[in-house]
Each structure stands twice: as C-alpha cells, then as structure tokens.
Symmetry: C5
Subunit: 349 residues, 5 copies
C-alpha cells in the first residue's frame, strides 16, 4: 500500500499515486462514436494522446492503471483538467464525490469485490464528463465497464444516439448494478451466519461475524456518500446534462438508496446477531454450570458418608451391625435419588 501520508509537504496539485502497488502496464483505449460511426482504438500511443480529439464524434477515453501518473497527466492535458482533479484521480483513497467544474463534471466512485471468506477489495473508478468526451480511470485491468463497450458495438439501447451525459449515466448505472451482485453475496453470508448463531454458535461464528461486520462497514463508508453524490447530479442538473437523461439519474439514485438500505439491514442483523450470540453463550455456560452443580451436590454428600464410615475409630457401633453396610448403601441411594428428583423438579435436569 502507498499511504495517503505520502503527499505530505508537497505543493497541492502534485500528482502522487496513493493506493495498492500495481505492476500491470497502464493503457488507454479510445472509443469514438456517433449514431453512425464507431471506432475503437486499444492501447493508444502517447502521440495519439496528444493529438486533437475528433470533432464529429463523442470520445470515450478509458485508462486502466492509474499508478502510471504520466499517462494520466498526458490524457488529461488535452482536456485542460485541473491539477487538483488529476491529483484526486491518482490518489485512490478518495471518498465518492462529485465536483462541478466549469467545463466538466468530475465523479469518483468505488467498486467492491468479495475475495475469500473475509476480505473485500475496493477499487476506485473516476469519471470526467465533458461536452464531447467522457474520461474514465480505473486502478486494475478488470473489465468492469466491458458491457458498455459491447452495447456500443451492438447499438443496443439508447447509448449510441444520446449524448455524453447518457454514456456517463450508463457507466455509473453499470457500476451501481455491480453493487447488487455484491449485496446478494453479502445477503447469503448473513443468512448463513444467522442460522449458525441460532443453531450452533462457535468461536468461528464470532470471528465470521466480526469480519462480515467490517466488510459491511467498509462498504457503507464508500456507499453512503454516493447518496449525496448521485442525488446532487439528479437534483441540480448542470448544462452538461440533458433533461431527458434526468429521469434515468433519478432511477440511478433510487438504486443507490436501495443498496444503502440493504447494507443498513445487514448491519442491524449483524448487530442483533452479536447480542443473541452473547446471550446464547451465557445460556450455555448456565447449562454447564448446572451439570457441575448437580453432580457435585449429588456426590459430595455421599462421599462424606462413605468417608465417615471409613474412619478408624475403635468404637463405631454401626460398623458391627449385620445390615450396617446395606443400610448405608440404601441411604446413599435414596439420598442421591431424592436430590436428583429435586433438581428435576426445579427444572435443572
């Protein structure tokens, strides 16, 4: 990890990569399209980056690997992106946010991936929406936004005929749809844990709850601000966004609210699970203690009786009785039984 403290003492606007150390080669893909034309250019060279963008078409430039700070700067230069925005793109510790600039809108959001049992990987996706271009930036080379490329190629839906605002919406929508896959798998784990806590809670259940709680907390921290981000996009539309796109943004906003609702629900479930777990453990200890107490209460007095008749006093008349032994055994038996009966009556066994 490169920590956010790396930027300390540098003049503001100095782009420094913060986040997971990556080794993949960064690359840029251009997609220039309008209703009739579609041109895809993978692995754009530096010279092409610095050429003038085309006039007739919308350009979607997609950069993978924001750790290559020079490449990010080269791409942004053409569109006069502010140095502070570039600094935010390469610093992957941003909160989701929306910044309205004069010529473009800058949006940061996150994608999640549940890795093994107890880990979540978070990736930052930045998006710049301009009048004739959309720039997207992601950390890894995961094909997160691939299905929009497919849709553009096949001409499905409105995406080819509408403007850059609809493309930006479609990209955001895709990322938000991904959250539902994430919440679906969270939901399964929460339900599994629920059954475990009720039926057979173990120490592992406790740890699983802890890690799941942590994952939900991380997701919430990254999704809660999205409410405001998308909400602002839909409520205070900038000139860059057409009225016809607005209804789609409202839909997007509803989805964001819903994901947050789910997370809130998991959080509550996990928290009342923990309470139940604690009560359950106390309950079990109670059961254990009862067993110990019953055993001790039944056998310790009998052991005393046996001890008494094991004493070596010369003058112990009972020892000489013919039925002394049998009587003592019967007394012991009756005493033990009546104690068990008593414990049965008070519902301990």
């Amino acid at each position: 990890m490169k920590r956010s403290s790396r930027t300390k003492g540098l003049p503001p606007g100095t782009p420094i990569h913060v986040g997971q150390r990556r080794t993949e080669t960064s690359s840029v893909r251009f997609i220039d399209y309008n209703e009739n034309i579609l041109k895809i250019n993978e692995h754009v060279s530096i010279e092409e980056l610095l050429k003038r963008p085309p006039r007739q078409t919308i350009r979607w430039a997609h950069l993978t690997g924001v750790h290559d700070v020079e490449l990010v700067q080269a791409l942004c230069k053409q569109y006069k992106i502010h140095p502070l925005v570039i600094e935010d793109i390469v610093n992957t510790e941003q909160r989701p946010k929306l910044e309205l600039h004069d010529d473009y809108i800058f949006i940061v959001l996150k994608t999640f991936n549940l890795e093994e049992e107890d880990n979540i990987s978070v990736e930052q996706v930045s998006l710049i929406l301009g009048p004739s271009y959309v720039l997207t930036f992601q950390e890894s080379t995961d094909p997160i936004l691939q299905s929009i490329v497919t849709r553009l190629e096949k001409g499905h839906g409105n995406v080819r005929s509408f403007g850059t605002d609809y493309l930006a919406y479609a990209l955001l929508d895709l990322i938000v749809d991904d959250y539902f896959i994430f919440t679906d798998s969270l939901s399964e784990r929460v339900e599994d844990l629920e059954d475990e806590v009720i039926e057979s809670p173990t120490t592992n259940t406790l740890h699983a709850m802890y890690w799941l709680k942590r994952i939900v907390a991380i997701a919430r921290r990254n999704l809660w601000p999205l409410r405001e981000t998308v909400g602002r996009l839909y409520r205070d539309p900038s000139p860059l966004i057409n009225a016809s796109t607005n209804i789609y943004l409202r839909d997007l906003y509803d989805h964001v609210i819903q994901v947050n609702d789910y997370l809130e629900g998991y959080r509550e479930s996990l928290s009342s699970m923990l309470d139940t777990y604690l009560s359950s453990v106390s309950n079990k200890m109670n059961e254990v203690m009862k067993v110990l107490t019953v055993i001790s209460t039944v056998f310790i007095p009998l052991t005393l009786i046996a001890g008494i008749y094991g004493m070596n006093f010369f003058n112990m008349p009972e020892l000489t009785w013919t039925y002394g032994y049998s009587v003592v055994l019967i007394v012991m038996f009756v005493l033990g039984l009546s104690m068990l009966a008593y414990f049965h009556r008070i519902d301990w066994i």
Copy 2:
C-alpha cells in the same frame, strides 16, 4: 428468488422480473365506472388490453402476477408509461416510493403477511394514478384490494362520485389499514414474549426475540420511507389531486406515522427485553453458582475431617477414645450447621 443482480449489464428500462418465483397465471381486471355506470371485466384478453380506454368512465385496471412481464408491458403501453416505471413494477425489490411524472403519479408500496411463528412475507403493490385511470399491480392473487371492488359495487362512501385521486387514496388507505392488522398481531407476540422473559426465559425465548426483531426490522425498512412518500403526496399536491382529497391524504399520513410509531415501540421493547434477558441469565447463573459454592463449602471440610480419621497412623489417640466417634460426628454436624447459618445470614440461601 430471482435476485436484483439479474438486471446487471442490461440497458436501463429493460423489464426483468425480480422477486419470488411464481407460477400462477397472471391476469388483468378492468373496472370502468362513473357515478351511474359500473362495468367489471375479469380476465381481460390481450386484444381488449390494446383497445382504446373508454372516455366517459374512470378505468381501474388491476393486474395480478407481475412476473408476466409481457402482460405488464401490454397494459402500460396504452397509457404511455415510461420503460423505467415498467422496470420498477416487475422488480419487486423496490423501496416504497413516489414518482411524479408529467402525466401520472407512480407509487410503490408493500403489504405484509405474518406466516408461521417466525416468518414474514412481503408483497409489492404498485399503483399508477392518471387523469382518468388507475392502474394497480400486485405479485400474488391474494384479494388484497377486494373490499374496494365491493365498495364500488355497493356505492358505499364517496368512491363512486369522486375522481381517480379518491380511488387511489381509497386503495392506499386499504393497504395502510392492513398494517394495523399486522401490528396488532406483532403487538400480541411482543406482549407474550415480555411475560416469558420476566417469568421463565429459555433459549427459545431468545430465538423468538431474534426472529421477531428481524420481522420488525424488515417491516420498518419497508414502512419508514412511506412517511416521506405519503407526506409528499399530501404536502406538494400535483394537479392530479383535488383539494378535497387532500384532507384524506393527511389522514392517511397520520396513519402511516402511527404504524411507524408502533414499530418503533416494538423495536425498543425487544431491545430492552434482550438486555433484561441477559441480566436474567446472569442472575440465574449466580444462583446456580451459589448452590454449588454452598454445597462445596459445607461438605468439603467435613470430608477432610472424615479423611483425617480414616488415616492409618498407629498412634492416633482420638481413635481409641470411647466417645471419639460421637464427638467427631457432633463436631461435623455443628460445623456444617454453622456454615449453613453463615450462608443464610449473607442471604445466599
């Protein structure tokens, strides 16, 4: 269950059924009425669906079984409902919400059913209120809205003489009234549990509390947003709603607030019950521990005495005394009694 992640990667506005897998045949019922006329048409055929709606009467179209996506689309086509709205109707994972469109108002809400002990079934009901029509959509074939049909037939109340806004209100009011049946049965269970926790808490009580808490949480998640939904309907009335209907909407709003109040109350009760349960279990363990300690403290020293006089030393003068045995028995008895007295004095027994 069909998960909400199913919609991922599809263009927005693609209607995909999300929710419980259902097998019932979907159907549409038309009720055309005005103050004088009432015509009910069950199981409307596709051709009728695509005919022009009547001019003189109000049409209430009721569709059961939103899993039949084509039927929903066919019904909505006539009224030019936006594809995003259709997508929301067939996706039953919506939060309650209100959307003001140019020509109609779109409302989503939920009904609840307490199944056995620990389960709640939630059904989504969508409603579209237009200038001369009301469309309602529900998941199952349960006759949730039947009593409005009866009221229309019998001409009870204002429903025949007022407009579509009053019909929509009457439908919402019916669903909200249903919540009181739901809260009444919740209330009974909470009171039962209350008595159980105070009188004889068991592990089952703990689990019952957990499940009840979960039911209350689900209901809250689905009813809390209704405050805002109905509140907006009543505070920012659209041209589709007459001033005379507004006072009824305020009444509806009060009911929604009240249901939420009840749920809040159950939640608090359940939460302080859990605290009480935990304290109660600790208390009981304390009692068990006291019994064990009393028994051990009384008998273990006596056993030691018996053990001492069971030793085989040649030279143990007490063993030869005539009253040695009796003295030891008396000493044991007195010692045991005084220990019991001590424990009685410190209130352990």
Copy 3:
C-alpha cells in the same frame, strides 16, 4: 381493548370506537359564559344538542365517554366538524396532533395515570377550538378538567374575560400541569430503584427497571409529538388565536419541553442503571466464584494428604512413627494457613 384493526376496509370517515371497552354512560355538559353570565348545563339531552348554540356567550361543551359514537356525532354536527375528525375523536389510538381546519383547530393529547407498581393508563383527550366554542372529549368520567370549571365559576384569573383561545389554552395547560404530577411520581420510583441497584440489586429490581422503562417509553411516545404540536400552535398562530394568548402558549411550550426533558433523563438513568446492574451481578458472581475457589484450593489438597495416609499399603513407614499423626496434622494446618495467607495477599479474601 378494541383494536385499531377494526376500521379496516371501511370507507374513511366511518366513526368506529377504538380503545378500552367502557361501560359508563356518556354525557355532555354545556358551559355558556361571558364576562357577566355563566350557565352550566350537566347531562345535556339530545334535543338540546341539536338546538342552535347561543350567540352572546362562549360555549364550552364537554363530552365524557367517547365510546358513545352517536353522541359524539350529534355534538359535532352542530359545528360542521369533518367526518375524519369525528373518526379520530372516537379512535383513542391517536398520536398527539394538531390539525388546522378552515373553521376550527383540532388537538389530540393524552393524560397518564400511574396505577399500581407497574402499570400506566393512558387516556385520550380531544379538543376542538372554534371561533365561539370549545369542544372537549374524554374517554372516562375522571374529573380531569374540573378545576377550570371551578375557575370559571369563581371568576379567577383571565379565563372569563378572554376568548375561546384562552379557554383552550387553560385546558391544555391543566393537562400539561398533570404531567408534572406524573413525572414527580416517576422521579421517586427512579430514585428508589437507583438506591436499590447500588445497595442490594435483586431479580425484582431487574423487573421493576424493565416495567419502569416501559412506562417511560409509553409516556415518551405520547409526549414527544406534543413538542411539535404545541410548538406549531405558538409559532404559526391561526386567526383563531389572539396575540395576547401567544405568550401563554410559549409558556405552555416550555412546560412541554421540560416534561420531555425529565422523561429523557429517566430514560438515561434507567439505561445506565441496567448497565450498572449487569456489572454488579457479574461482580457478585466473581465474589461467589472466589469463595468456591478458595475453599476448594485450601481443602482439596489436604483431603488428598488424608487420603494418602488412609491407603492400606503394608509398607508405609510414616504410619509407624510416633509423631507421624501430629506431623501430618501440623503440615496440613500450615499448608492450609499459607494458602489462606496467599489468597489474602492477592486480595481474594
């Protein structure tokens, strides 16, 4: 109890009594007064109810027993009260609320009575303030509002010379003053419990805390909305309220805030009491465990020693020593004492 689910499926505005089943005969009392005249008419007959109200005087009509739905309707008819308001008057499960209508203000609030140890009875009082009349409705025949009658008769204070708004204020003030009696007795119980928890917490303390917590929760649920209700009355004065009355409403508002403050305080006290109780029980269990452990640790090893010299091996030289027995006794004594000393040193006894 008649449950609020009784109203389900009925057209809105159908008055149905919801609440405690009562058998007292309902009755109406008229008090017509101005600065000079005062006429009290107990047990008004139905005919009188339907007569025109007087012109020169202010009429305060007081109805006891809202379960008599016909009587309520008869009284309200004269003043053209909206059916939804009548429905709310006879449904005693309302939250405190304020409704501004064109010709009158409708206010609902609650009175409390602490019955035995662990029960609270809540009664609903409704008030309608019109230009020349005040209507009040209560559930039982308790003389809650009696002292205002006395004040009117004796001409104390401003109540005879001011208008209906001052009368309504005086009635509200009386009910709010009642809350202080209620909080005073709550306060005593909280203090008693406080001492109990610190000095000698028992299971009864736990249950008493639970019930008190519940009473405070019920009171809060019924008093919290009153802040907004009275606050609105004082901040957005309607034409029905004179400016000179406004300062009194502010005073009333202060009292409401104060009662809510008290309740909040009790709630916090009870909640930190429960935490203290739990810690206290754990502490005590710790003490019990220490006693058990000390006893076991001191006596079990000694018992082993006695057991060893109780073995029947032929060749056990110690048994034949003259001072064997005394030595063993001394060893036991010293061992036991040093263990006790050790436990004393680590502060267990």
Copy 4:
C-alpha cells in the same frame, strides 16, 4: 424540595416557589452607576423598591432568595415584568432559556456546585436585561456574582463605560467561567476513575462511575440548551444589544460550546470505562475459574488414586508390594506435575 406539581390547577402567572426549601432571609441590592458615579445600596427596603428608578444611571438590582415571592413581585412591579416571567423566576425547575419580550430580555441559567463525592447542587440564576436596568435573581446567598461588583467598584475593564447589555454579558460570562471550574474538577475525577478501572476495579469504582455519569447527565441537561440560548442572543441581536457587545457574545457562545464539548467527552469516557469495567470483571472471573479448574483437575484424580488404595478388599496385591507405596507416591507426583505442565503449556498458569 417543593415539586413542580405544586402549580397544578392554578391560573397561569400565579407565582409559586418551586425548588429547594430555603430559610435564609431574602434581600435586594441596588447598584446605580454610570461612568462617573457608583452607588451601592445593600438590603434595599420595600419602600425604596417601590420608588422610581433613577434616570441618569444604570441600575443593577440583585435579589438573593427567590423563595420570597412577595419580594420578587415588588422588585418586578416597577419594571412591568409579565406575570409569567415572575412565575418562571420563582420556579427553579426551569430549563436554561431566553425569552425576547417587547421591553426586556429574560434569561434563565444554572450554576453547579460539586458537593461531596457524589452529589451536585444546581442553582438557578435569572437575569432580566432592560434598556436602563439589569435585574438578577438567585436562590441562595452565595456570592456568585461578587467579582462583577468588585470590577464595577474598581472600574476595571469596560464594564463601567458600556451599557446594560455589556453588564448582562459580564454577568453571563462570569457564570460560564464558573462552569470551567466545575469541568476541571469533573475532569480530575474522570481521570482518577480511568486509572482505577484499568488498575484495580472494585465495586466502589462501579458506583463512583454511576454517580459521576449521573452528575454529567444533570450538567448536560442544564447546559445543552444554553447553546441555543446564547446562540440566539448572539445571532438575532435585539435592539437592547449594541453591535460592539456582539463580538463578546460570540466569545461567550464559544465558551458554552466548549463546556458542552467537555461534558460530551466525559460522557463518552465514562461509557467506554463501563464497557471496559465489564470486560475486566469477566476477565478476572476467567482467571478465578482457571485457578479452580487447575486445582480440581490436578487433585481430584490423585484423590481417586488414594481412595482406591484405601479400599479394604482382602485381595489387593499392590498393597503387599514392598515399594507399592513409593510407586504410588511417584505416580501421583508425576501425574500431578504433568497436568501442571499441560496447563502451563496452554497458558492457564
């Protein structure tokens, strides 16, 4: 204590003393001053009270002992104070508040005194700021405001040259400065408890935490509303307050915020202390249980072995072996040691 329920049923504006029963004689002190003159009149007589106040000077009238309701009324009469305000002055159960009247501003606030270990005494101070007078009222005869008298006499600071608003500010500032003395001593106790909880928590620590929590809760209840009170004074300045005084009020507001911040901090500390205490007690119980278990596990099996060779069977070959006894002793020793070693290995001892 005279309870607030005493006022029940009386017409509003009836002054009734509520609060601690006091026996000190009440008295009034007049301080008339301007930049040149200063006249102090202790123990003002009733006749002087009813005389016209002076024209050229500012009068600060200070009344000690609000239980003397007649004296309060006599003082207020001259300045036409509203009966509801007088009622609030003699009722010492007010929350801190600010009331803007036409001719004056009425402010209520509280002072605190930490008495012994676990008690807090709260005193109410009321202040009326008029165009040429300031009236202050306090419950006891404690010289709370004495240092302002000194400042007036010595002519320190701005207090002589500025108007009544600055005097009122100086009085409020003095009381708020007192809060810092209060929070300083709270802070010391919280730190002491912190050390105690970490190092040697006892039952007394628990009770001390409870009482301290209670004191903090009382202080918060009386200081939280002060934020709004002083905030309003500074943000919506009335004509009675000069612009030059406003900057001082902002400073006062900052101090109030800070005191509330401190209290919030203590509350959080106490609450996480309680959690730590509970965990700590559980931890200790765990230790105790481990000792018991180790002792029992080591000695009970050995006792069984001793018991076996204490049996009186005729045919027990081991008993006749020459080294039988030694072998058994060695077996016991080795068994005990290896058990201890095992417990050492799993970190129990």
Copy 5:
C-alpha cells in the same frame, strides 16, 4: 497544565495563558516576500515588532511559544487584533474555529502527535489572515510549518506568486496533510489490535483498546468541528479570499472530511472489537467451565465408589471376593470411559 478555570472572574479580553506549562523561549520569525524578493528574519526583536510592516511585500509572521503573552500582544498590536482574539490565541484549550472579523480571518486548529503507546499530544495552531499579512502562532518549537518556508525559498508551486489567501491555504493544507500521518499510524494500531482480539485477547488488549478509543475520541473532538470551519471558509468566501483559491479550499475540505471518515471508521472498529472481545472472553470461560465439569463429573463418582469400599463395616461381602478388587477397578474404568464418551458425543471435549 494551566487550567481554563484560571481566567475566571477576569474582565473579558484579558490574555491569560492556558495549557501546558512550557519553558522554551518564545520567538518571532518574519518572512517578507513577493514574486521577486524573499527576506527571512529569525528572532525578531521587540523594536522590529513595533516598526511599520513593509508595503510592497507580503509578511508572514510566525510566533513559537504562545505562553509568552507579552510577545503575542506586541505582535498583534501592529495589526489591531481584537483583545478577545489575543485571549483565544494564548488559551490553548480552544476548539477548532473560524471567526470572520472586519479586517482579518481568525482560524484555530490543532495538530496531533502520537507519543508512546497510549498517549497523544495535541498542539494548538492559530492563524490570522489579513490583506497583506499572515500571522501564525504555535505552542512548541516543533518545525510544523517548516516545509512551507522551504517552498517559499525554492519558489516551488504557486505560493510565491499568489496572495496571502494562498499562503494561508498552504499552511492549513500542511497541517491537514499531517493528519494523514496520524491516521496512518492509528490505522496500523487498529489492525494490530484486530488481529490480537481475534487470535489471543489478553487484559493488555483490553487496555490498549481503551486507550486507543480515548485517542480516537480526542482526535474526533478536535477534528469534527474542522468540517464546519473549513466548509465555511470555502462556501462563504470573504473578500480576503480570491476566487482562484476557492478550488483549493474545496480540496482541503475534502481532505478534512476524509480524515473524519477514517476516525469514524476506527471508532466503529474499536467498538465492535470490544463486543467481540467480551464474547470471546465469555466463550473462553465456557471452555474452562467445561473442563472443570468434565473432570468433576468423571472423577467424583469414581471417588465415591472408592470411598464406599474404604468403609470399615465388618459385614461387606464384596471385600472378601477374590476378584472384588479387579471388578471394582473395571467398573470404575468403564464408568469413567463411558462418561468421557458421553461428553465427547455432546461435543464438550
């Protein structure tokens, strides 16, 4: 520590040092610069302090050691700083805040230093931004702001060419960047504790959690108000701040939000860690209890059997049997084994 209660009773605006007692010599450094010139003057003498500030250049005056109240006053005199502001500068118990004065903006904020394991030192930095000057005040002589001096000297970034507002921003940004170093080291400790709680929780873990929680609480108390402080600076820009600087302030605001987000995250983690710790301790106690119970249940009955055959009755036929001893041993063995098998079956061992 000099407590804030020291200021009690003094006229407002009397500067009194509150905070840690320091002995370092206080000193002032002047940096006069514009785009072309840069003059640094360390250890400015009193005479220079009282000279007129230069006209052509921006002056940054930096004072270390606010305990030297006279020096602070001397520096502030030249710029006509209000006495209340001077009082706040030397009182290091301020909350972070922003005050807009007519000629300057006054900002207070804090820096943190994690000392050993469980301690945090907080230092107050005050900043006054005027039209041609920036004054900064800090408590110690730590070179917190050194890197801005370096940047000024080297002419890096915009700092030489922009105005005082940008200098002030750069100083604030430096301090906020420091918070990330602080949160980075907090983050490491939280992760270490996380592993400890899951893997091997001890009493030390508990105390470490307590102290870390306390540090987070202190940091939050000092950073939460910064949101509003910086937010106001960026949203309501005063004439002292150029529009071009505003975008930098928004960036600063984002960083402040992010630091607060981190702290919130640590707080949640620590709180769910404590819950997990408590459950974990209960779990372990359960394990200990099970061991004790198994041992007792297996051996106590066997000890009774041995005790019975150790009794000295004359008539005990079993004793005379040839295989009596072997039979008893086998019975004991089988009994013990079957008990162990039973405990194994119910998963206790």
